[in-house]
């Protein structure tokens, strides 16, 4: 298995995530798409670490950090979703229309 396959999977995952982020009407759906994008990046890092720079672990370390970052973001994001859901009773992105122009 060459690096290309991993990169291909990662790229596809990124694109799928991107698609999800762009099209989901539900905030949580959007978040999930973004999580997929994060995973694509992590996969890239691990693959590069394995194939191109096997002498260190920097790639995996970055991936670890990114997992933590993702966790932090998702926490804030979900808290926001809940807060909004409480006040607006919706999680549909297009209904957030107080601000525009």
């Amino acid at each position: 298995m060459s690096l290309a396959y991993y990169l291909l999977v990662s790229a596809l995952l990124f694109v799928i995530g991107l698609f999800g982020a762009l099209t989901r009407r539900n905030i949580i759906g959007v978040l999930m798409g973004i999580e997929l994008m994060f995973n694509a990046a992590n996969l890239n890092l691990a693959a590069f670490n394995r194939f191109l720079h096997p002498q260190g672990v920097a790639g995996q370390a970055v991936a670890l950090f990114s997992i933590a970052v993702a966790a932090a973001e998702i926490v804030v994001g979900l808290a926001l979703v809940l807060a909004i859901y409480r006040s607006r009773d919706t999680v549909y992105v297009e209904e957030f229309d107080l601000l525009k122009g």
Partner: protein, 167 residues
């Protein structure tokens, strides 16, 4: 690193990811997200990143995916389960994604035929050394990020009068 391990994992990952972004039922999406993340974890394993595999399972699959599931259940309304979940701009999104992939293809093409030259080794120990040595400052920094996130969760989670909401 056998193709027999790689292809099923890649298939599971990508197919469930597709499901995540296309299914109508958000609940199903959330479940498939867990599956997809698990697939990625498997791929880590196939790359010899054992610690990453564990972290992925613990934090992502066990933490994030679950959290998302909770929130979906908390915020979901029964009548919405069958609503169209895809935004009307999906065709544009497809085009954009296609173009992005076209660009990424250039990188993928570059990597064709690049094979691993070394054997895999356990990574936990070097990771620990790396994180607490060279990367100590970022490591500490991530705690600050998490603290901030916690504060955010508290601020948003508390009801306006400062008490925990009943709902």
């Amino acid at each position: 690193m056998s193709p027999y391990l790689f292809w099923p994992l890649a298939g599971v990952t990508l197919l469930s990811a597709l499901g995540v972004v296309t299914l109508r039922n958000t609940m199903h999406s959330a479940l498939l997200l867990g599956l997809s993340l698990a697939g990625v974890a498997g791929l880590y394993l196939s790359l010899g990143a054992d610690f990453l595999f564990a972290a992925q399972l613990l934090v992502y699959v066990g933490g994030i995916a679950l959290l998302i599931l909770f929130v979906v259940m908390l915020s979901g309304r029964a009548d919405e389960m069958r609503l169209r979940q895809t935004h009307s701009t999906w065709l544009a999104a497809v085009m954009v994604c296609g173009v992005v992939f076209f660009g990424l293809w250039r990188i993928v093409a570059l990597a064709r035929g690049v094979l691993a030259e070394t054997r895999t080794a356990p990574t936990t120990a070097p990771l620990g050394v790396w994180l607490l040595g060279e990367m100590a400052v970022p490591f500490e920094l991530i705690t600050l990020v998490l603290v901030a996130a916690l504060v955010g969760a508290v601020v948003f989670g508390l009801s306006p009068n400062g008490s925990v909401p009943e709902k």
